[in-house]
């Protein structure tokens, strides 16, 4: 069965010189694509996870009584929202990367940093999306009326308990559509990690078409389809989650 598949594409490449689907019949190129997909999916999942956590924590800190904590969160948000993520990635990897502790490699010269370029991509992109998430969650928190929070406080909830048990669940459900948008944006932004040589899907496709110019159109098609599929899966998942999180009796 697989052989038929492989033969078909080899024949197709011979008949149509501009449509060489080389990654379907050559194991090396296929391995590259698989590796690229793995990195993209891994990057997306990790960044989504961390950015949501950063959003929740940041929104909590924004209401803290300490002025300096509030200013710190403000500064963080302003920096990450007003600079292009492309340049943020470069900064993180080259500038901050110098300051991270590194373990000297076995050859006595290389320094294997504790944070690899994939690690920096995750950190940079999570912080980037997290900045937007803080605003989204803050708006969600503001949608919870003060009376509800006062009632909770009157019942003896501490600030943290109010946030965790009363405010956050409601705010989260309200923010879900906006969060959905932001996470879709994040998955699309992972392609920019190519700037620091993270071997994700776009990087692998660029390598393939540099080596085999006849595979240009097929790889572009693959890229297009893969990202539509990835985003589609994410949107589908978010819709299911929205439905599951709906409060019974509300939502029409």
């Amino acid at each position: 069965m697989l052989d038929v598949f492989i033969e078909f594409f080899k024949q197709f490449a011979a008949d149509h010189p501009r449509w060489n689907f080389i990654f379907f019949y050559e194991p090396r190129q296929w391995a590259r694509i698989v590796k690229g997909l793995q990195y993209t999916v891994w990057l997306s999942i990790a960044c989504v996870f961390f950015s949501v956590i950063i959003g929740v924590v940041g929104a909590w800190l924004q209401n803290s009584p300490s002025v300096w904590l509030r200013r710190f969160v403000q500064g963080y948000i302003q920096f990450f929202r007003n600079t292009p993520p492309f340049v943020q990635l470069l900064f993180f990897y080259f500038a901050l990367g110098q300051f991270t502790p590194a373990v000297t490699g076995p050859d006595g010269w290389t320094e294997i940093p504790i944070v690899s370029n994939v690690g920096w991509a995750i950190i940079s992109l999570s912080l980037f999306a997290g900045a937007f998430n803080v605003e989204i969650f803050r708006a969600g928190i503001e949608a919870v009326p003060e009376s509800t929070q006062e009632a909770a406080s009157a019942l003896g909830f501490s600030r943290l308990q109010t946030y965790k048990e009363v405010v956050l669940p409601l705010a989260f459900r309200v923010s879900l559509p906006a969060l959905n948008n932001n996470l879709v944006n994040l998955v699309k932004t992972t392609t920019q990690a190519i700037a620091i040589a993270v071997p994700e899907l776009l990087y692998q496709c660029v390598s393939i078409w540099n080596d085999y110019p006849s595979a240009l159109y097929p790889t572009m098609l693959l890229l297009f389809v893969s990202f539509i599929a990835l985003v589609g899966i994410l949107v589908f998942g978010m819709h299911r989650w929205e439905k599951a999180m709906q409060i019974p009796g509300y939502g029409g």
Partner: protein, 280 residues
Amino acid sequence: MSLKKLTMTAIAATVFAGISSTAHAACTNDVWNKVMSRGKVVVGVKADYKPWGYRNTDGSIVGMEIDLAQAAADAMGVELETVAVQSSNRMQFLEQGKIDMMIATMSDRADRREIVGITQPNYYTSGTNVMAPKALGFKNWEDLSGKPVCGKQGAFYNEVVTERYGVEIVAFTGNAEAKQALRDKKCVAWVYDDSSIGSDLSSGEFDDFEMPLASEDDNPWGLAVPLAEKDCVFGHFMSGLTFNMHQSGQLIELEKKWGIKPTSYLADKNAAYGDWLADK
């Protein structure tokens, strides 16, 4: 109608067969005549490959290949205009007529000869090599097996080196980033043209580094005229000019002027093309 034209043009333009006339067709010398009547030759050169072609603060491009282009323009009696090109678009620009000639550190390869008219003799050469720290003491290519090596995206030898020696290429979008990653010890070496590595080493800013391995895949560079003009006036003119510059030693002087490490290639060509009356 125009969509069909679009598709047809796209297919025709990107097919690797020569669209223009074969070597047996009559020479019309269109580009040559255009250059002569305009009084200006537009040459595509690199703007990010020091010292073959790089920018000046006033925005002009200078370098060894620009001097070569200037020599050609002087011999033709026309003015020189330089246009910055990149590896990804240099052949396209020549094909579409945006530039009249291209001298852009292009390796002379069989498939490229079918698209643009690469003239002989070649004017320079380079092989693949690495810049590695002296501390690591690499002696053979096999020493790099399994180690992370920085490179530039799009270079054809990235794949070659990976297949042959099993190195792990970490390809960056630009040389600045790749060299920075090397300095930051994120990889054990930087793979690139030995001529560029040589010039970096002789600039004195990479004193802790060396170029220890034997150059592989020594591949001469070719300058190109439009394919249709290769066996006509323009192509023959550039061939002759290159030959004369080898013979007179002008290329060796240019190499020295721009601080490029002297190569045996130019010295050999200078000897091979020697004028039998020169020392008599």
